[in-house]
């Protein structure tokens, strides 16, 4: 995008207005990544702001042959991983109360058409976030980049400075952990179903 390249070039020369254009363009993906990783709106706001400040300081290192969004999200990802590691959380198995407190009502049956759509949307948000918090930071990052940013294994590997096989392994384990957490919390039935039946 020529406009974006122009903003980046001007921001590199110290034009803060041009950098603000970049912030406005990428604020949602950067904030969402921080929120999905940290699970707290205040922390996510702080982390997203810090991501942009770091990006501004490091703009001279940005390689224009790379996608700017990928470069920016990589900064956000590394920052969030650092924050999570500093928290020194103990990653325990999912506690059922966590999801029930978040308003879990069961798996989604289809598109919402009733007036309670907004409420259901909020509940589902809380459920997804509660599930994500059961994952270790590296696994959570792989899930977030895969599902919210639709990145390929190769792109995730490049962004997280890892290998494709390591990313595949993390996603494999992360999906299984999420599935088992949902089972343990009673969010999905443990009884067997035919494989072709949609969940």
């Amino acid at each position: 995008m020529d406009t974006e390249r122009d903003w980046i070039e001007r921001a590199r020369q110290g034009d803060q207005a041009a950098f603000t254009q970049l912030v406005e363009t990428y604020q949602v993906p950067v904030y969402n990544l921080a929120y999905r990783m940290l699970g707290d709106p205040m922390e996510a706001e702080e982390a997203a702001q810090e991501t942009f400040l770091r990006a501004y300081r490091e703009l001279h290192r940005y390689d224009p042959t790379r996608k700017f969004s990928a470069w920016l999200l990589a900064i956000a990802a590394h920052h969030c991983i650092d924050l999570l590691r500093r928290r020194r959380l103990t990653w325990l198995s999912l506690e059922e109360e966590t999801l029930q407190a978040a308003g879990w009502t069961g798996p989604e049956a289809g598109p919402e058409t009733d007036p309670e759509q907004a409420v259901e949307q909020a509940e589902r948000e809380a459920q997804v976030q509660a599930l994500l918090t059961t994952l270790p930071p590296d696994y959570r990052m792989a899930i977030v980049l895969r599902y919210w940013y639709d990145l390929s294994y190769e792109e995730i590997a490049q962004m997280t400075e890892s290998t494709v096989s390591a990313v595949k392994s993390r996603l494999f384990r992360a999906r299984r952990m999420l599935a088992r957490a949902a089972q343990q919390a009673g969010l999905v039935p443990n009884a067997p179903r035919p494989a072709s039946e949609p969940a």
Partner: protein
């Protein structure tokens, strides 16, 4: 097919990369393995929830908050850079005196001149103006051109180099005088 292989095929199925022959093999396994069947159901449910979760936006005014923080940060950096250069300039301006205090050498002619403030006011004014000139230009460079820390460090190094040059020249002159003295 064992459960481990079935698990791998489930991941391929979620990624949409499962070939038809493997679809049939996976379904056959799921039909006779209740544990894998339950896991597949849970995986599909999680896939569905994650796939439908939207991007969450920040609170309104996010870009303005970042811009304000960036402006504060830049102001601090410029001030810090300017102070570093100012300190280096002051060091150069008063180098002759520092040289006399710190090194076991006779004071340079400049230092002697500065020590005789009362008697040589004109020279003192010249030294002061030199220091101010350097400081003003260094600050202007730091404030207007938004030079980075590296540029400030380079300028500081240049000033220290000039100080060393001055000291070295004085030592040479002193040596010359000793040689010429019978």
């Amino acid at each position: 097919m064992n459960c481990e292989e079935a698990g791998l095929l489930m991941m391929d199925a979620l990624d949409g990369t499962l070939v038809l022959s493997d679809v049939n093999r996976l379904e056959a396994h799921l039909d006779r393995c209740p544990v894998c069947q339950a896991e597949w159901t849970a995986l599909q449910a999680v896939e569905n929830w994650l796939g439908r979760a939207p991007l969450v936006p920040p609170a309104p005014g996010f870009a303005d908050r970042v811009a304000a923080r960036l402006a504060r940060q830049n102001a601090r950096r410029r001030l810090g850079g300017g102070l570093v250069v100012l300190a280096a300039a002051a060091l150069l301006a008063f180098a002759p005196l520092l040289q006399g205090w710190l090194l076991p050498l006779p004071l340079s002619p400049d230092a002697e001149v500065i020590r005789q403030l009362a008697r040589h006011g004109l020279v003192v004014v010249w030294h002061t103006l030199r220091g101010l000139w350097i400081a003003a230009h260094a600050l202007a460079a730091g404030l207007d051109l938004s030079l980075g820390a590296a540029a400030h460090a380079a300028l500081g190094a240049l000033l220290l180099f000039l100080l060393g040059l001055q000291s070295g020249a004085y030592r040479l002159r002193s040596a010359d005088r000793r040689v010429q003295t019978p």
